[in-house]
Symmetry: C2
Amino acid sequence: MRYSLHRIFVVLALTLAGFSAIAQSKHPSDEVIVQLQKEALSSDLAWNLLASLTSEVGPRMAGSDADQKAVKWAVAKMQSLGFDRIWTEPVSFPRWLRNNESARVLAPFSQDLVVTAIGGSPSTGGPLEGEVIQFDTLEAFEAVADEEVRGKIVFLSTRMPKTREGSGYGKTVVNRSRGPFVAAAKGASALLIRSVGTDSDRLPHTGMMSGSEPGDPVPSAAISNPDADNLMIMLTRGEPVRVRLDLDVGFNGEATSYNVIGEFDGSEGLKEYILLGAHLDSWDLGTGAVDDGAGVAIVLAAAKLVNDLPMRPRYGTRVVLYANEEQGVHGGKAYAKLHETDLTSHLIGAESDLGADRIYSFKTRVSPEAEPDIALLARHLNSLDIEFDTTEHADGGADVGQMRKLGLPVIDLNQDASRYFDLHHTANDTLDKVNPDFLRQNLAAWVTLVYVTANSTVAFGPVEPSE
Amino acid sequence: MRYSLHRIFVVLALTLAGFSAIAQSKHPSDEVIVQLQKEALSSDLAWNLLASLTSEVGPRMAGSDADQKAVKWAVAKMQSLGFDRIWTEPVSFPRWLRNNESARVLAPFSQDLVVTAIGGSPSTGGPLEGEVIQFDTLEAFEAVADEEVRGKIVFLSTRMPKTREGSGYGKTVVNRSRGPFVAAAKGASALLIRSVGTDSDRLPHTGMMSGSEPGDPVPSAAISNPDADNLMIMLTRGEPVRVRLDLDVGFNGEATSYNVIGEFDGSEGLKEYILLGAHLDSWDLGTGAVDDGAGVAIVLAAAKLVNDLPMRPRYGTRVVLYANEEQGVHGGKAYAKLHETDLTSHLIGAESDLGADRIYSFKTRVSPEAEPDIALLARHLNSLDIEFDTTEHADGGADVGQMRKLGLPVIDLNQDASRYFDLHHTANDTLDKVNPDFLRQNLAAWVTLVYVTANSTVAFGPVEPSE
């Protein structure tokens, strides 16, 4: 309710104050922004950072050796980019390991299924065999009596729909997040899900199960979309389908990684800064190019370009490359916990974590007083074909959103996610999937955001803390 | 030379005889063909056969248990489709096994490469490590002095271009076919190639090396296109790139599989038939849906639909599902050897082995006397948006082409191969890649071909034997 009233208020304020008149007027920053965008649109900086991360570090699953290399990589890059201050903050979490994984249909036919364990899954402790029972949705599975599924391998076949904003994800990811716990509660022996992804490649999508469901999950894995299609055909043939699942995975102790933080000072010696975020860890299957190497590259490059101006912005720019977003937003939560007392030195936050395709809209969660700056931002983003979406508030993303929950104002630059869930959490998440022109458009949008917000003369907050 | 004169003669004959006049005239078969096409365009038969093969048998690499299952599947399907005679003919070949394969960059960075052994490769006999030396083409590799590559892992990075007719394949497949032998002759320790494929998926393309090069090949493998891109970036970083390759693969004894042959008799008791071919084996990585399950389904369904007519064609229809095309056209060669003395009972041959996308043109290799039937065929294929391509002769495909070499007249129905080499010989060769409407268009073209040729009153041959 609070949310809706607030939203209506912002929209009204923007409209009634003559948003369009403001949006057309000249502003002292206009020339600088136009020049910055031009520079971004011909810059190779983000691409080069991304190529470096994906080739020199590659996959960097939280808690792995490569994760430690990524931390060193990030510190070294911030140094070479000339950040004024660079430091790390430790983030601890349970270490989850993927050693081996395989699945095979044993009867009435025999062929392998391409499979990957869901993050957080326990091991099968050697080959686990069972009859497959299929449900179209988690809801349908939950509705049946426990005795129907007891001891069986449950297969949830829900297909994720493809949309620009990626909204199909939320509808189907419950299979992955809650499915393993529902299966355990109902006495199933294991869970197979159709990959939560929109492609038809023989590459399964991993991703974490929920960390907050009660009870212990069953061994759980995702099969690729083509394998799910194949299994569906087998299930129509009238005979029980038996599968062997072998997952050598599981939790093993604690690991520590690091949020890597770099700051450019502002021009006026103020101890306040805007907060840019992306996550440094990736899943292990791909090289983490779109998730979230692109975000890392974009926020680093944007901070660099803006702070290389002859006249730096008033406020500082803080870039946080978060540890272990993938397995439970550990970096974002650790940062918010540590910096809660320090909240007011963060003027506003924004995160890049939905790939590298074109930004098509932006949303805000700011105080009404910020209207002139938002109007300026809207005008300059509009020249990059980015529309101001006032239908809902920004949420700040997975990591920066942890600070939003405490009341940090945030802006979302929304990327076209049509292709994102083709690649998300698969081996196909590699550099070749990134379009260099789209990456530059992202960079142009981000330098605009950084320049406008870091030169702000108004307060973006306070906004109401929100879940 | 002989080829060119012959070709000019056919083209001239077709033109001078007033091809277009003939093509427009009514023919007694017209109504039947229109009806057959209509039936094919709404038929699920080919799809159902293909779904059955890919789900119930799945990957069926020559010499594997699944290959034997595929033979049984084919015999059983021919029985259920009502073929008049069904038999098998043994085909023996060296058995090649893929047990395990992996590759990893060790220095100056460390990450896995997605790799698959090239068919015919020997084992590395445990992990093989070496420095990578890259060449843009096989030609460039051949041009360097042996001492430059001795003991190194050679990487051929040539990218296959995408074209409708698949012509990029011939240009780049030399890396796979000859590369392993060139590498051996020059003293390299192993060969890596960029996959011979037009996709950017993290799925490498397997395929056979040449069986006719002198000497023994080095251990050889293909990495996926994204991995090749990644390795190229690593090679620009100025330090030697070291890779570990571990291929547990190799030849192991002899295997026997079977050409599966089914015949529908013609209506006049003649001992002559048209020959339809596709290959039953597949590579092991995918389920062999486009290569060549689609061909199997199309020729079986076409023979069935035409011979289910109230009035069967004059001549019989023989369908040959060839054994082990993938590893050296063993089935096609065995068939040609066994049936050389029997050549004249084959009126004409055609093969389906380039996937399941739309047929856009056809070519012929027939005697000038066949012109009226070819004109009739051209007219009815034209209604399916298929053009008569007179720029070159048909070659009959890999298997049926073995009979063409002996002088069998052949017709090629040319499929759009734009997507084919995205999938070819990869794990992505699965049923979901087949467009049911395109498969039906194929079937409509094939029933037209079968009906027209099996009712012929002219001789398609003799044509000159050709290599």
